[in-house]
Amino acid sequence: MTAESQARDTATPFMAAAFAGLATLVLWDTTSYTDADSFVFPRTIAIVLMALSIVLALQWLFGFGKTNGQAASGASTFRRIVLAAAMLGGALAMPYLGFLLAGLIAFAVILVTAMYDPWTPYRLVVYPVAGAVIVGGFYLLFSRALQVPLPTGLWTGF
């Protein structure tokens, strides 16, 4: 057994426990519903999910069942985290900075994060300009042509 598969195996009971915990949480939440129409469906699904989680844990315990997860490769975890943080940060900043500014900042951070080639003078000029054109173009398309009321910033006013 390789180190990677061992890592996955330790994850399986964790995932089974996480899903069982979710099912328990759902079952607990359904106790506050007033109408049977509201709880019959989620409660049924939660019970099924709980049963499946137990079967998954038993599979792991008795050493059968497939582990078809993807092993972690030599890819950059830091870049992954920055991407997710930039997107989430952009979403949360929209009401304060406005869609345009939040979008531009998120775009710039992700551009730098996804950059693997060396920064040449050409790229230093063209990439930011291209980014501004793309963000501005989509902003105009959605706000003007498609009449989507994109958020204006509480702090910036646009």
Partner: protein, 502 residues
């Protein structure tokens, strides 16, 4: 003679221009993740108010059909369905693009969409009044079983681990119940959060679950997004045509499935694509190739979702019941125009209806050159754009697309968080497709189940309600066939081959 008159009316230069413009606009809007066919039609409806009813219908039908097809672009090139109708297109479209056959996948999708669109329009022209009755024959329990039929596809999307796929499906079903319950208005699974009261928006969720994991993996390595072959192969139209001919029965069956699902109010292109995909896989000689880049999968999904355009117009025009969400917008526009939809529409205002149907044929045929050209351009753009620009552009599109559905920044945050959860689950063998299936089919399944349960309990005939109606029995048979058919076929083949082994 009347038919020729209507055809000539549809072929007037103004109507041809409208059909062409509508297809181009619809294709572009549909290709942007988050912008649905409903939105494409709704945004452009005001333009039609000053037009003749037939011309207005032609423009709206062309936008609709173009948008449904346009959803395939992002599905194939970015693993993100441009519209929910293209969910099943991702299953085989993206694997084809990853192995360097993205251009062929785009051509196959275009050809299949044209075939599906033509079949749907043909049914609309020839059989609209009798087929409209199908919409009325489907009650809550039939919708419930139809949703279960869609969910049975989980078994074939399990990627070798049925247990994890079923758990993913359950997670999706639970996600579909978040927010205010439709029947009783109970607030469910929000845990006090205001952000979750509006529920989890399906399109935002599927953008997150499909696209964010791709972006997370894309940003982590310097490798190219899609494999690019050295020589430019062009449109690969001949290959696409040959594959379409080879799988003509799949195309026809999927188109008919799409037309019938389109007739059912509220079902829509996503269910049509999933049901057709499931059937294509069930009847294929190589079901194991599905999900790994099988052209038949793209053909099934794309022909079915475009067939829903014609199918959806059947109850819209004959009964005044919109078959799909864009039909509801079109119905509203028709009412503004003073067109009275109903059983007499085909006789009292036949010139409008038949001119429109010919216009729909025209728009669908125009989709072939338009789709191939735009598809080619989109493919070249995706494979040549540097990663440092591709990743932030797609990320920005997901932000603006998921925001624009309900003008909600909460939806954007939910989209990103779901995407991250989807990526983590993917590392442990829980693929996104069963979760998305559960999320999409959850509300239909719950509504049908609860309503049927209520009727059954009131009449003391639960068994009869769920298992006693002819259409329900037929759908249950299909579910059983979908789940156990492939295993049965393998078992029979194994038995036949065993004597030779000895």
């Amino acid at each position: 003679m009347a038919a020729i008159e209507h055809l000539l009316a549809a072929l007037s230069p103004f109507n041809v221009l409208l059909a062409l413009g509508g297809v181009i606009a619809g294709t572009i809007v549909g290709s942007l993740p988050g912008l649905t066919a409903t939105m494409a039609v709704a945004v452009l409806v005001p333009i039609t108010f000053s037009m003749e009813p037939a011309s207005a219908l032609i423009l709206m039908g062309a936008i609709y059909t173009g948008a449904i097809y346009g959803g395939a672009y992002a599905a194939i090139l970015l693993n993100t369905p441009g519209t929910p109708s293209a969910i099943a297109t991702t299953f085989d479209g993206y694997p084809m693009a990853k192995r360097g056959d993205g251009d062929l996948a785009m051509t196959i999708a275009c050809l299949a969409s044209v075939v599906g669109g033509l079949v749907g329009a043909l049914f609309l022209m020839v059989l609209a009044p009798p087929l409209a009755g199908v919409a009325l024959a489907f009650g809550p329990v039939e919708y419930f079983w139809l949703a279960v039929f869609g969910l049975s596809l989980i078994a074939s999307l399990s990627e070798g681990n049925l247990l994890k796929a079923l758990m993913g499906g359950c997670l999706g079903l639970l996600l579909s119940t978040v927010g205010v319950a439709e029947v009783s208005a109970d607030i469910r699974l929000t845990f006090g959060s205001q952000v979750l009261i509006g529920g989890i928006e399906t399109v935002s969720a599927l953008i997150g679950l499909y696209c964010i994991p791709v972006l997370i993996d894309l940003v982590a390595t310097p490798a190219r997004h899609l494999k690019v072959t050295q020589e430019s192969k062009g449109l690969r139209l001949r290959e696409g045509l040959a594959l379409s001919w080879k799988h003509k029965f799949n195309l026809m069956r999927s188109s008919i499935v799409g037309t019938f699902v389109g007739i059912l109010p509220g079902a829509g292109g996503s269910i049509a694509g999933l049901v057709a995909y499931s059937e294509a896989m069930r009847s294929s000689r190589n079901p194991e190739k599905f999900g790994k880049g099988a052209p038949e999968g793209i053909q099934a999904s794309e022909s079915a979702n475009n067939a829903t355009v014609g199918g959806g117009f059947i109850p819209t025009l004959v009964l005044g019941i919109p078959g799909t969400p864009p039909d509801a917008v079109i119905l509203g526009a028709l009412l503004v125009q003073g067109v009275k939809v109903g059983p007499n529409l085909f006789t009292s205002q036949g010139s409008i209806v038949y001119t429109f149907i010919w216009g729909l044929f025209l728009a669908t045929i125009l989709m072939l050159p338009v789709g191939l050209l735009i598809g080619r351009y989109a493919y070249r753009t995706i494979i040549t754009i540097p990663k440092a620009l591709l990743v932030p552009t797609v990320a920005f599109m997901t932000l603006i697309g998921s925001y624009s559905i309900r003008n909600s920044t909460s939806d954007v945050a939910i989209m990103v968080i779901l995407g991250c959860i989807g990526w983590v689950l993917g590392r442990f063998g829980f693929s996104a497709s069963p979760i998305v299936l559960g999320l999409i089919l959850g509300s239909i399944a719950e509504q049908g189940f609860v309503q049927a349960w209520t009727i059954g309990a009131a009449t003391h005939n639960l068994g009869g309600i769920f298992f006693g109606r002819p259409i329900s029995i037929a759908i249950i048979l299909f579910i059983v066939l979908s789940l156990f058919g492939p295993s049965l076929v393998r078992f029979i083949r194994g038995k036949k081959e065993r004597p030779n082994d000895g």
